[in-house]
């Protein structure tokens, strides 16, 4: 503090910061990026360990014997499903009752804001069936959930079979202290959303559902099962949930521990773990895994049925059976035993899972990067914004050297609230338009253009986005007259601080989204002034805008999945990703679309505005 309270030293420090501002910013940016890339290098990460005592030291035995019978039940389920052409509700109710469960159904209906072309649905009607296995001598205060979705076609029949097999097996066990809820949800996430809203009696998305009549108290943990073939070679763990929320790391540890115990191949993000971390390929595998997790988390959408549980503070994950045509196969009995072990340990929980991390990234199943390690990478990017803000502030308050122009300057240095406010308001109104118009005006668009509803929504969004580029910088000049030198500085100061706060908050909630946005928006915020070459900068600005970031992310994601696409396919994928993002918001309450439309895009427009300041 003594350093700052001495005016001379303070001036020296400020001089240093302003003089070396650009180099420091560049160094910070590089360091931030390098720091991020270093996160997946194994010596820099921590090995996972079980934090929860109740799950760690207690041993359980897995004895589930009836894998083949479960698969047979799955086949029976498939036959009934085919016969009815949908969810065989009556058969499920009867089968669950025969297994000694209390069975309840819930029907729901939902009309999507516009047709979902990926899953080909618009007016959705369905029924969830769930059975509760009451734990002996338990007062119905705690429950665990196992869910499998009933998807159209031939998918997930084995999961339903295994779920019923486990229900039958668990019915004869005496050690359960928490009620077990076996849920078969129709229309995957929509059914799950209806069930969870019904269970907690909330309505966040305007869905119609009938109230539930059987409950098991507060749900402590949930697993969701996806098995699509009789042959499973490895199990994949999916963690990313709605808005980039993750379950407690102990759930992943639990899965990993049982995979090790039963020697089942397990993956995360579909990537096997490698032991050669010091080789280039080993490192690149870890980077790929972590980048996949970052991309998925940043998208803010639920990547499995478990994703919707997280909002209700229920730790949940999806276990996916993968058939990758390897030699060593895992039979249904082993998967059943794995689930049995996991449920028995979850049953031992005395408290909700809370001991381990909620904020983490995983370069492999056995290693993790905690929030304490990855936040510095983001911090290095965010500090650039603060340095630029400091620089601008110093430029604004330092009196110019010549005295005779002083009076004139003072008049200039107060550019007036209006000249700042108007660009702010206009850019935010554009953001509101981007948020509201696509869904509101789909009918009108469909009437006037030869497109489907979904295309109409996506194209309207792109049109509004592009129109926003033209609109603000023209109007502001008309309103406030000639822009001054001080004017753009004040505007940029506001914009830079705004961006810093925005990114900071985003990164705290969803690190991946915050980091990706920071990676592209921080350079824009740092270099843009009205004095840089217009055409080149405009191109760079568009290149680094949120929409283009999304486009690159789509290609990058495909590259990471080792399924590269051509530009044509990539563009189609891009359009469907936009429609999915908007649907996620309306169906499940994902916040990424409103965040981009209402806050990030207007903020970016401010920088666009500064570039064309006159």
């Amino acid at each position: 503090m003594g350093l700052l309270s001495d005016p001379n030293r303070r001036r020296a420090l400020i001089n240093l910061l302003t003089r070396l501002n650009a180099p420091i910013c560049v160094v910070c940016y590089m360091a931030g990026f390098a720091c991020f890339m270093g996160l997946s290098f194994e010596p820099f990460t921590l090995r996972t360990y079980m934090s929860e005592n109740a799950m760690g030291s207690t041993m359980v035995e897995e004895r589930f014997p009836a894998g083949e019978r479960a698969l047979a039940t799955g086949r029976e389920f498939a036959a009934h499903k085919k016969k009815i052409g949908g969810m065989p509700v009556d058969w499920l109710v009867k089968t669950m009752q025969a297994r000694g469960l209390e069975v309840f159904t819930q029907s729901f209906s939902r009309t999507l804001p516009f047709p979902d072309e990926n899953k080909e649905r618009y007016m959705v009607k369905g029924t969830n069936v769930y059975g509760i296995l009451r734990a002996p001598r338990a007062p119905r205060t705690e429950a665990l959930v196992l869910s499998a979705s009933c998807s159209p076609g031939d998918e997930n029949n084995q999961a339903v079979g295994l779920l019923l097999g486990l229900a039958q097996y668990f019915r004869n066990q005496i050690y359960f202290a928490k009620d077990l809820i076996f849920l078969v949800n129709e229309h995957d996430l929509i059914g799950m959303q209806a069930w969870l809203e019904g269970y907690h009696h909330t309505n966040t998305t305007g869905m119609d559902w009938t109230p539930l009549h059987g409950r098991g108290g507060s749900i402590q943990a949930a697993l969701s099962l996806e098995l699509n073939s009789h042959v499973v070679t490895s199990l994949d763990l999916v963690l990313e949930g709605l808005n980039g929320q993750l379950p407690n790391l102990d759930l992943a540890n639990l899965f990993y521990a049982f995979c090790q115990k039963l020697s089942v191949l397990c993956t995360i993000e579909g990537k096997l773990q490698r032991n050669d971390w010091d080789s280039v390929s080993g490192y690149s595998q870890a980077v790929q895994t972590m980048m996949l997790m970052v991309m998925k988390q940043a998208s803010g959408r639920p990547w499995g049925d478990h994703g919707l549980f997280l909002r209700y503070h229920i730790e949940a994950a999806t276990i996916k059976g993968i058939n990758s045509f390897r030699q060593d196969k895992t039979d249904a009995t082993t998967i059943g035993r794995l689930l049995e072990g996991m449920y028995r340990k979850l049953n031992n929980l005395l408290e909700r899972l809370h001991q381990s991390y909620f904020f983490y990234l995983m370069p492999s199943l056995s290693n993790f990067v905690s929030i304490g390690y990855y936040m510095p990478a983001f911090g290095l990017l965010a500090v650039i914004l603060l340095l630029r803000a400091l620089d601008l502030w110093v430029q604004l308050v330092t009196p110019p050297p010549r005295n005779e122009e002083r009076v004139n300057d003072i008049a200039q240095s107060c550019p007036g609230v209006l000249s700042i406010l108007i660009p702010l308001v206009i850019s935010h109104l554009t953001g509101v338009a981007l948020y509201m118009l696509p869904v509101r005006f789909q009918e009108m668009a469909v009437e006037h253009f030869p497109v489907s509803e979904t295309e109409a929504v996506v194209l309207t969004a792109i049109a509004v986005y592009t129109a926003g580029l033209a609109l603000p910088h023209n109007t502001h000049r008309l309103l406030s007259g000639e822009g001054t030198e001080q004017g753009w500085r004040v505007l940029k100061l506001v914009a830079v601080l705004y961006l810093a706060v925005l990114l900071g908050c985003t990164a705290l909630i969803n690190f991946s989204l915050g980091f990706i946005l920071a990676l592209t928006l921080v350079p824009v915020a740092a270099f843009v002034t009205p004095h840089v070459p217009k055409v080149l900068s405009a191109f760079a600005l568009v290149f680094l805008s949120p929409a283009c970031t999304l486009l690159f992310s789509v290609f990058f994601y495909q590259e990471l999945q080792e399924m590269p696409v051509s530009f044509q396919d990539g563009w189609i994928l891009y359009l469907s990703v936009i429609s999915q993002g908007i649907l996620d918001h309306y169906l499940y309450g994902s916040l990424v679309y409103p965040l981009i439309a209402l806050l990030v895009y207007p903020c970016w427009l401010l920088f666009w505005n500064i570039l064309f300041w006159k």
């Binding site: 503090m1 700052l4 309270s5 005016p7 303070r10 009752q97 025969a98 000694g100 209390e102 009451r134 002996p136 001598r137 338990a138 007062p139 119905r140 205060t141 705690e142 019915r171 004869n172 066990q173 005496i174 907690h200 009696h201 909330t202 009549h213 409950r215 108290g217 507060s218 909002r311 209700y312 503070h313 005395l350 408290e351 909700r352 809370h354 001991q355």
Partner: protein, 634 residues
């Protein structure tokens, strides 16, 4: 009255056949039809016993008459198998009056879901007055520990229950005596008690010692004074609720250490009688377990000139045959309790086993062995049930092997869910750690009768209920309660108390919702496992439910026509108390771990640093010109 039957061992069953009694308080007795003719030719071996039997017969006939009167007076009492008035007064006036009396019985009911419900009741009656005589020091059958408690704390009525598990009304129907999960204690004090709260606290601590339970956690923050829901069950017309205290501990875990002291209160302990069956390794291997102690004053005779004290110890347990029997549907006393019966408690005046055979009139559902000729009928919870009776005081019951092992084999499979006339459920709605909503659903499944229920809700202070958000809706319409008693909570002093009288329309669901805010506790107020959540006790729904017997229009069978035109009052409705499930609510909880300490430290550092930083930001610095010293001044 007597039903005769010839079993497979005719000579041994003669006595049995002759001493058959049917204890009922309704008039019906089912003769066993075709079976009884066979016993007619068997010779009476013991004339003395025959004489005895006829005498008893007379007693029993009187007994049910007296009972009807009794039942009418205490309709609120949950069902009781034995009448409260003692038959000795009526018949054995010449014999010296026994000062105390002990009865024991076990009711076994095969449940709709395929489970087995066993309910023990042990009743000790003592004609004494704890209040008037200064000191009662000679104890017979009545346990001294409880007697001292009654006299020391001037208790008028005491009801305490320990329950592990939740009674599944939808699968099991109504229990004989309901109780909430965890511990429940409610006490009426004599009106001579001046410091009720102090006495209550002290009583809870004493009971905590007697029953090895955590009743010492009962304090003002979980005690309420219900105004309407808990009326005295014994005699006495004191209804000033200032002398009533009610508390539940939903978190209480009930296990062997609570059973052992409870068993010690029995006159025979676990040495003889039905209590032999109470082995904890079997009792706690069940779906539901509940033990209770009820103490109340009752009438000594039907004129009610003198009062006596009744101690009723009950133990209810539901066994899951699915678990233990591997799907094989058969049970026996040995299978349930890993013991058989060899004798009644010698101190007991009656000792009986009742098996509910209502659903099995022709033996098509299950078969019972050894067969018994005794049948009894009773209206239990508004439903007419038939029971097979085994009288343990008769040697003949035990047969040649000198041990009784009642065995039952099922033939049917598991049934669908029941639709009990009244049932309730409760849950917390909403998400996040700031607010929430408590929903209580009450189902009236009666096809055409509406009936009122009393709802009692006691919510801890750390859920701040917003009473203005209270809504009561049934069938989509607002249902205005005719009586609401609400006592707001005081932080760290007392809980919320909400009592309502709501009319439930026929065939409807009534939903009571109230919003709450979760309080942030002080850091020392969190439990050692704060992330487990905090319990909210069950709400209590008390009601007079229209009975199934009254519903049954064909109830005229076997009854004289003149008696059945108007619905009989005591049968038209019955008292039921339903408890909802307790709630587990998560409160905002700080992370009591290393990061928490780090946050605390960081905050301290920031707080220290903030002062100087603020100073720097607000002060303007100017370089002062060195002024000339004082010495140079003129």
């Amino acid at each position: 009255m007597a039903a005769h039957r010839c079993g497979f061992l005719p000579p041994l069953f003669i006595l049995c056949a002759l001493s058959v009694l049917t204890v009922t308080w309704t008039q019906e007795t089912i003769p066993l039809g075709s079976h009884r003719a066979a016993a007619a030719d068997s010779k009476p071996t013991d004339t003395k016993s025959v004489a005895q039997t006829t005498e008893q017969l007379a007693v029993e006939q009187r007994q049910w008459e007296a009972t009807e009167v009794e039942e009418a007076t205490s309709a609120a009492a949950a069902v009781s198998k034995q009448d409260n008035s003692s038959p000795e007064d009526v018949v054995q006036t010449s014999t010296p009056k026994p000062k105390d009396e002990f009865q024991e019985e076990l009711v076994v009911r095969p449940l709709h879901s395929g489970d087995i419900y066993a309910s023990f009741q042990f009743r000790t009656l003592w004609q004494t007055d704890f209040t008037r005589e200064r000191k009662v020091s000679h104890y017979g059958l009545f346990p001294k520990s409880l007697g001292q408690v009654i006299s020391k704390f001037s208790v008028r009525e005491l009801h305490i229950s320990f329950t592990q598990g939740y009674w599944r009304t939808m699968q099991w129907g109504q229990p004989f005596l309901s109780s909430p999960p965890g511990a429940e204690l409610w006490v009426w004090f004599q009106d001579t008690v001046t410091d009720v709260d102090g006495t209550w606290k002290e009583l809870a601590n004493v009971l905590s010692g007697i029953f090895c339970a955590s009743l010492n956690f009962i304090d003002s923050t979980n005690t309420v004074q219900p105004t309407a829901s808990f009326k005295p069950l014994g005699i006495g017309n004191v209804t000033d609720h200032r002398f009533l205290r009610y508390a539940t501990l939903p978190r209480e875990i009930v296990c062997t250490e609570n059973l052992t002291p409870w068993k010690k209160l029995l006159p025979c302990g676990t040495k003889a009688g039905l209590a032999v069956l109470l082995k904890s390794e079997k009792l706690f291997h069940s779906s539901f377990y509940s033990q209770a102690v009820h103490i109340r004053p009752v009438c000594q005779d039907w004129q009610c000139k003198t009062a006596s004290w009744e101690l009723r110890q009950t133990l209810n347990v539901v066994f899951d045959l699915h678990n233990s029997g591997q799907g094989k549907r058969e049970w026996s006393l040995f299978k349930m309790f890993s013991r058989t019966l060899t004798e009644a408690c010698p101190l007991a005046s009656t000792s009986k086993i009742y098996i509910d055979v209502t659903d099995n009139p022709e033996g098509e559902q299950f078969e019972l062995s050894p067969a018994t000729a005794l049948l009894s009928q009773a209206v239990v919870l508004g439903d007419r049930r038939t029971f097979s009776v085994y009288d343990l005081t008769q040697q003949i019951t035990f047969g040649t092997v000198r041990s009784l092992n009642v065995l039952m084999r099922w033939k049917s499979s598991e049934g669908d869910m029941l639709r009990p006339l009244l049932h309730a459920e409760r849950y917390v709605a909403g998400y996040g750690l700031q607010t929430g909503e408590i929903h209580t659903l009450m189902y009236n499944n009666h096809p055409y009768r509406s009936f009122p229920v009393l709802l009692l809700d006691s919510v801890p202070w750390y859920l701040r209920m917003y009473i203005h958000t209270l809504t009561v809706t049934s069938k989509g319409k607002d249902n205005k309660p005719s009586y609401i008693h609400y006592q707001p909570s005081k932080d760290r002093v007392r809980p919320h108390l909400l009592e309502m009288l709501v009319q439930l329309p026929p065939n409807s669901v009534t939903e009571v919702t109230v919003e709450f805010e979760r309080a942030l506790l002080k850091w020392t107020e969190y439990t050692p496992d704060p992330n487990h959540g905090f319990y909210v006790g069950s709400s209590v729904i008390s009601s007079l439910v229209p009975s199934l017997v009254a519903l049954d229009t064909n109830s005229t069978w076997q009854r004289p026509l003149f008696s059945t035109f108007f619905p009989c009052k005591e049968e038209s409705s019955y008292f039921v108390r339903v408890y909802t499930e307790p709630l587990l609510v998560n409160l905002p909880t700080p992370d009591f771990s290393m990061p928490y300490n780090v946050i605390c430290l960081t905050c301290t550092v920031v707080a220290v640093g903030y002062g100087s930083l603020y100073n720097l930001l607000t002060r303007t610095f100017q370089i002062e010109e060195p002024s000339p010293g004082l010495a140079k001044r003129p």
